[in-house]
């Protein structure tokens, strides 16, 4: 029954939404499905960690972690959408809502899939479903972003498919590529095919996750996508991609390829942070900067997995915090766009004094993104550095710290210049007051961030410990 | 101990203008004049005590407090310096720092009093005074370092008494260099000829004189008296440093000390009559020269093994 509620129900609702006429009804359905989804996910927390519905679908600690993260974020975005889509639009948002609901079900599928082939299908469908979401405004730049997003991610998916095929070939003696079977008799896998498949999988799912050389679609896609879509993609979809990459790492750990794969992860991590550092510095467009910030945080995740040990725990912790932080900052950028009707940094000024609540949340978002203490990202960045220092990878630690400080230059240069000061006369400020639906999600996200960073509840700790044990960390 | 302090201060108060008198007499004698009587400074100060005061409207209480504070600071600094057989009444470990900073206090108040009058001439004098005194203070401290290294103690009287005949064989050059650089500091601190001309009235060239341009009556008297005491105290310290009389019996010490003071006064007169005032941007070079002398002295002490 829960399986249907989690995966099937949203898809069904998507079909219903396609048929409906009025926009308001669609929004309510969206809100209700996300609420149901959230309740079911929470209900799984009490139950045992490893649940097996059928050979293809099941839960383990890591997937439950990502599923909770996805459903909380989706629920918050659904509330935000009620306020966001208020003003009238010529074209009905049927396709938009339908794709969103399908996206929810495919993301649930990704977390639940125990078969590598099924995992690939779910990832591929999340990509295809998010393409129309980016193109909501039908503006030339939006179309260009969608085209680039489609092309690059479909190349990534193709490479992922090749990787899965190579994995299947290497798992020939095992006869199936169920995750459980591969992990149990990992020794039987033929090493050379496995290495080839790991490389192709890493590049494929790395493109989906937005790691360095394959990140080029991210700034365009997040720059042009509407804010809630940006929040969902940067928070939830990348988390699912990260889960897929974790599965690959899990396989490598079980097959004893630790020494083979960790240099690749570290290279990807440092490269992503380097690229992000270059592009955040002096960025002109706020949403593009958030795209690069997502590249940076994915780099930190990859670096954490690469370093192993305590850093795996830290990168999972970071994934959770990053998802909520990205959600928060993207929704804030949505409010900014509603208020200032522009994404350019120079004509958004003095947000604190023009829209006090959004201004405060903008600064809080900055504090969370930068990794200031009360929130979780500070601890995860510190732990990753601790692991780098104890594992005596001084070069990686040096670059890690260097890029973190350059990125800090970039962020504070952009966000603080926007938040403080006074709105200049020519800033095109619409006389709109901030409406409730666009503030409530920010408050919820901040609350969740506060609990995931400062007073970390007990069960959340155990989930993290089990998930990191799964992936070969301490 | 209170009586010895009073005795010490009485000696300083009574005898210090005499030093100025002797210098004035030697300067006049060298140019063939009889010059003013020996007690001329006493007459000047006495005259000023009987005169009324004129206060500028722009000045505040600081203008009147500065002469008093500078006189008192200089008087109190006399307690640390032994005069021949008269031992310093109140020595304590680290009194050279209080000694130097008391002069700093006096100088600080004189400078802000000069700025208080709000005239450009006093300001000129104040800024020059501030500039030169910074360098002079550094040289003074370097001399104290040499003495401290020689005597291994921070009490001024012990530092000076350690300088007996035997120490001259080993550290003769160091003490000589310290003495010479100290003499140059003496000239700079008391506005004697090479640094500043006490007798001139051309404002643009003066340093000390122009700072006291606006003072009158009792304030001017205190300032004159204070500068006389300052010359006396620093001179006494100079004599203590240079003349190794501390090993002799007390009676001989007093005789040699006072003879030294007179020789110092005469020496000052000679220096002033055969040298002209230096240009203002050359005075720092003079003080840097004194600093180098002291530095060489320090190196000698270090090499000789402290």
């Amino acid at each position: 029954m829960e399986l249907f509620l989690l995966a099937g129900f949203p898809a069904l609702m998507a079909a219903v939404v396609f048929l409906l006429r009025q926009d308001r009804l669609r929004k309510i359905i969206l809100f209700l499905t996300s609420l149901v989804h959230l309740f079911v996910t929470i209900s799984f927390w009490q139950g045992p960690r490893d649940v097996q519905f059928n050979p293809f679908l099941g839960f383990d600690a890591a997937s439950q972690l990502v599923l909770t993260l996805v459903s909380i974020l989706f629920f918050v975005v659904s509330i935000y959408l009620i306020g966001y889509l208020k003003e009238k639009r010529r074209r009905s948002n049927g396709i938009f809502m339908g794709c969103l609901l399908c996206l929810l079900s495919t993301m649930t599928l990704v977390t639940m899939s125990r078969h590598m082939g099924l995992l690939w299908i779910a990832i591929a469908s999340t990509t295809l479903l998010s393409a129309p979401l980016i193109n909501y405004y039908r503006k030339p730049r939006g179309i260009e972003a969608t085209w680039k997003y489609l092309l690059i991610s479909s190349l990534g998916i193709a490479l992922g498919l090749l990787g899965t095929l190579f994995l299947a070939i290497s798992a020939a003696p095992v006869k199936t590529i169920f995750l459980a079977d591969i992990l149990d008799n990992a020794a039987l896998l033929s090493p050379s095919w496995l290495k080839l498949s790991v490389i192709f999988l890493l590049v494929g799912y790395g493109t989906k996750m937005g790691l360095a050389p394959m990140h080029t679609w991210k700034p365009d896609a997040y720059g042009e996508a509407p804010a809630p879509v940006g929040a969902l993609m940067s928070g939830a979809v990348t988390a699912c991609a990260f889960l897929a990459v974790c599965r690959v790492a899990q396989i490598c750990f079980h097959a004893g390829l630790q020494r083979f794969v960790s240099p690749i992860f570290i290279l990807l991590g440092i490269l992503s942070m380097g690229i992000a550092a270059i592009f955040i510095m002096g960025q002109k467009d706020f949403n593009r900067m958030l795209g690069y910030s997502s590249v940076e945080h994915m780099g930190i995740l990859a670096l954490g997995i690469g370093l192993g040990g305590g850093a795996v725990w830290a990168s999972l912790f970071h994934a959770v915090n990053n998802a909520f932080a990205k959600g928060l900052i993207f929704l804030v950028s949505g409010n900014l766009y509603q208020g200032f009707r522009s994404k350019k940094v120079e004509n958004i000024q003095g947000v604190i004094h023009r829209f006090p609540v959004t201004g405060i949340f903008l600064i809080l978002g900055f504090i969370v993104l930068i990794g200031f203490p009360p929130f979780g990202i500070f601890y995860s960045e510190l732990l990753i550095l601790k692991e780098a220092v104890t594992a005596q990878r001084y070069l990686a630690a040096f670059f890690y710290v260097l890029f973190l400080s350059v990125i800090f230059f970039g962020y504070s240069g952009v966000i603080l210049r926007m938040a403080l000061g006074r709105p200049t006369e020519d800033t095109p400020v619409t006389a709109k007051k901030e409406n409730f639906f666009m503030i409530a999600p920010l408050v919820i996200l901040l609350g969740v961030l506060f609990f995931s960073g400062v007073f970390v509840p007990g069960p959340f700790y155990d989930l993290l410990d089990e998930a990191s044990a799964l992936l070969g960390g301490r | 101990m209170g009586i010895r302090i009073l005795l010490h201060i009485m000696v300083v108060v009574i005898l210090s203008p005499l030093l100025l008198g002797i210098t004035g007499k030697t300067k006049a004698f060298l140019v063939g004049r009889w010059g003013p009587p020996l007690l001329q400074p006493y007459y000047d100060i006495g005259k000023l005590f009987r005169k009324g005061n004129v206060y500028s409207t722009t000045t505040t209480w600081i203008f009147q407090a500065a002469p008093v504070v500078s006189m008192a600071a200089v008087l109190v600094s006399a307690i640390f310096v032994p005069f021949g057989s008269l031992k310093a009444p109140l020595p304590f470990f680290g009194d050279i720092i209080l000694f130097a900073y008391l002069y700093g206090l006096a100088r600080f108040f004189m400078i802000i009093a000069a700025l208080d009058t709000g005239s450009s001439f006093e300001g000129m004098g104040a800024s020059r005074e501030a500039a030169f005194s910074c360098l002079a203070e550094v040289v003074l401290f370097l001399d104290f370092i040499i003495l401290a290294l020689l005597s291994k103690s921070l009490v001024l009287s012990e530092m000076v008494e350690g300088n007996i005949l035997s120490s001259w064989q080993l550290f003769g050059p160091a003490i000589l260099l310290a003495g010479v650089s100290y003499f140059l500091v003496l000239l700079a601190e008391n506005a004697r000829i090479p640094v500043d001309d006490p007798a001139t009235h051309l404002e643009l060239t003066m340093v000390h004189e122009v700072m006291v341009l606006d003072h009158s009556g009792w304030d001017l008297a205190y300032i004159l008296y204070g500068s006389a005491i300052k010359l006396f105290v620093l001179g006494a310290l100079f004599v203590n440093i240079l003349v190794p009389f501390h090993g002799l019996p007390p009676v001989m010490q007093t005789i040699v000390f006072w003879a030294g003071m007179i020789v110092l006064a005469v020496g000052l007169g000679i220096v002033e009559s055969c040298m002209a005032r230096l240009r203002l941007n050359q005075v720092p070079q003079l003080l840097i020269g004194a600093f180098v002398f002291a530095l060489v002295g320090l190196l000698v002490v270090l090499i000789k093994g402290v």
């Binding site: 690059i152 190349l155 590049v203 050389p213 630690a397 603080l416 | 900073y101 700093g104 700025l115 009792w218």
Partner: protein
């Protein structure tokens, strides 16, 4: 410990209430004072308790932080700093309340809440016994002080200053991250107590020392890393810059001391570096201050100078520790501790009086002020007390701590071997030079602002500020005089703290040997005050019988002297800056009047900050231009993007498979 925890609780409560109550102004002011005063007093009581009994107390809260744990402890070292923090925050807070009361259009309760947050984070930094908690409090302190600085955020200069401050402190903090993690790796745990038990090989201690110097030096303001100080202080409101330079830069000193306490044995070159940094920061700070003609920038550079003096004390203490000369180490650290407290008090006093000066005359430019002592008696006299104290002149607290530092340096001279003596004498010379230059600089500042006539602004309607602003200043002035005349109490506290640094209990004999000379010095000072009293009495009685008139200042016969003919701060500093011109980048520009009847001419002189203009600005520009050049990667052509992926794939294949 309960005292300290209750004060923390009250402050947190106050901050929380203030955040909620952003609407009503009267209430927020009341809550602010209502929680600040008890909080600070309780904190001070806790600190005094530890200082008097010299027994450390600590407390472990079972709050599960991801990496470290919530472990607080107050030992005499942190108690001394805690005392400084509480006293200064209390007086600056009361002053701030008075200062901001008349500011109608700004939302004050947020500012008050941030003030509380800064205070709490500072108290946590000082009492944290766990590296992670220390870093958390350190970053909270940087963040809350950033937003405090940004009070007047409508001005562009303020935003630039805040931006520079945040960047420089945050980059410094990364060095601290690496340092603490290396120490944790060596000792196996994040707690300072376990770290203190571990033994650190000399090369590692050297590396940690360098990281510590950079990380804490950025906060403390050692010369090359001080660039944010002269920008942040003029930007912040004066009660914030008082707290910033009085206490917050001392956290750098505290951090350095805590690291020295943990690592204990260092290679000798560390003490040499500390002394050299002290000298350079001291002399450089005061020389740059001489060249500044804006009151708050001048005071900011003086903070750098006083940090230099503190580092001299620290350097001698460390040297004594390395050469196992307990006595020199003890006095060195005691001098450094006492100067930390003294500097906090008189620098706070100076900034507060500068603030009330700026509040009344609307400008901080020294060259446009003058003759304000008559209009602002309270501010003027308290500024004078602060100026005398900062120059280390005898009757005030600056002298006591400089005397201790001198004593430590001379102690070093007597007992260390050759290069020890050479360096200590160099340090004594530089300290003497600092003393002289500071006296000149503050004579310039006090004389130009408060004495003579007003140079360009009309001061007839300038009035003294409210009592709420003058009382805290008076309290700080009182503390300066009290320590100057009765130093025994504070010196014993400093010695107690220094004992924890040398981790050997000091016998009452050694304490006597140190304090006895100070008591005689106080006796001499009382004789000085007696003589002053007698001389003024003499003069007063004589003046009754002698004529006294009022007249125009004697301008050597010049008939119409105007107030603009007075010596300004720039002209006052010109001879000194001329002497040190090759050390400083001292530029004089402007067209001097040429013909016989010149219509107009103007001269302006400027001292540019070498560290900033020749290293940090170009470095920052280089990073920006590099990132602009590298932006070509995102060139817009999808084909190139796909090629990136293919090339990366082939590279991985070749690297990993072949």
């Amino acid at each position: 410990m309960s005292l300290f925890l209750s004060s923390l609780f009250i402050l947190c409560l106050g901050a929380f209430l203030l955040v909620l109550l952003t609407r009503s102004r009267a209430m927020s002011g009341l809550i602010f004072l209502g929680t600040l005063i008890p909080g600070c007093l309780l904190g001070a009581a806790a600190a005094l308790g530890v200082l008097i009994h010299r027994a450390p107390i600590d407390h472990r809260l079972n709050l599960r932080m991801p990496a470290g744990e919530f472990y607080l402890g107050v030992d005499p070292l942190s108690a001394f700093f805690l005392l400084t923090i509480t006293i200064l925050f209390l007086s600056a807070g009361v002053y701030g309340y008075g200062y901001l009361k008349s500011d109608k259009e700004r939302n004050l309760s947020v500012h008050y809440a941030l003030y509380h947050a800064a205070l709490i984070s500072l108290m946590l930094v000082v009492t944290a016994k766990n590296a992670v908690l220390f870093l958390v409090a350190w970053e909270l302190m940087a963040l809350s002080s950033y937003f405090l600085i940004m009070f007047h955020d409508e001005k562009k200069a303020v935003r630039e200053a805040g931006y520079l401050y945040l960047i420089v402190t945050h980059t410094g903090t990364f060095c601290l991250w690496v340092m603490f993690l290396l120490m944790a790796r060596q000792s196996g745990s994040m707690d300072f107590d376990q770290m203190a038990l571990a033994s650190f090989p000399l090369p590692l201690a050297g590396a940690l020392f360098i990281l510590g110097i950079i990380g804490f030096g950025v906060k403390a303001g050692f010369i090359p890393l001080h660039i944010w100080l002269p920008h942040a202080h003029p930007a912040a409101p004066s009660h914030i810059s008082a707290v910033l330079s009085g206490v917050m830069i001392k956290m750098g000193v505290y951090g350095l001391m805590r690291t020295i306490l943990i690592i204990k044995d260092f290679p000798e070159w560390c003490a040499v570096t500390l002394l050299l940094i002290g000298m350079i920061s001291g002399v450089g700070g005061v020389l740059y201050a001489l060249g500044q003609h804006e009151i708050k920038k001048l005071l900011a550079y003086h903070s750098v100078e006083n940090i230099g003096i503190i580092t001299l004390g620290l350097g001698t203490g460390l040297w004594g520790q390395i050469c196992h000369n307990e006595f020199a180490a003890l006095i060195g650290y005691a001098g450094a501790f006492l100067h930390v407290f003294n500097h906090a008090v008189f620098k706070g006093l100076l900034f507060l009086s500068a603030g009330s000066l700026i509040r009344s005359t609307r400008t901080g430019e020294i060259d446009r002020l003058g003759g304000l002592l008559k209009r602002l008696p309270w501010t003027g006299h308290l500024f004078l007390i602060g100026a005398l104290a900062i120059c280390g002149l005898p009757l005030f607290n600056g002298f006591v701590s400089e005397w201790l530092v001198y004593r430590a340096l001379f102690e070093g001279m007597f007992h260390f071997e050759l290069n020890g003596i050479a360096l200590s004498s160099l340090a004594v010379i530089s300290l003497a030079l600092i003393g002289g230059l500071a006296a000149a600089c503050f004579a310039k500042a006090f004389g130009a602002i408060f004495l003579g006539n007003s140079r360009s602004i009309d001061i007839t309607h300038v009035t003294e500020n409210s009592v709420l602003m003058c009382v805290p200043m008076a309290v700080l002035g009182g503390i300066c005089v009290w320590i100057g005349l009765f130093p025994a109490v504070m010196v014993s506290f400093a010695l107690g703290a220094a004992a924890t640094m040398t981790s050997s209990p000091i016998s009452s004999a050694t304490e006597g040997v140190i304090i006895a000379p100070l008591l005689t010095a106080v006796l001499v000072l009382s004789i000085l005050i007696g003589t002053i009293a007698i001389l003024t009495l003499l003069k007063r009685t004589a003046m009754k019988f002698l004529p006294v008139e009022k007249a125009q200042t004697w301008g050597c016969g010049y008939a119409m002297p105007t107030s603009r003919m007075q010596y300004t701060a720039a002209s006052f500093a010109q001879p000194l800056l001329q002497i040190f011109r090759n050390v400083l980048d001292y530029r004089v520009k402007g067209n001097r009047p040429k013909e016989y009847f010149p219509e107009e001419g103007e001269v302006s002189s400027r001292v540019t900050d070498a560290a900033e203009d020749f290293f940090f600005r170009p470095a920052f520009g280089f990073i920006k231009s590099l990132s602009a050049k590298l932006k070509v990667i995102q060139c817009g052509y999808t084909q190139w993007y796909l090629l990136y992926i293919l090339i990366f794939l082939l590279m991985l294949l070749v690297w990993k498979m072949v």
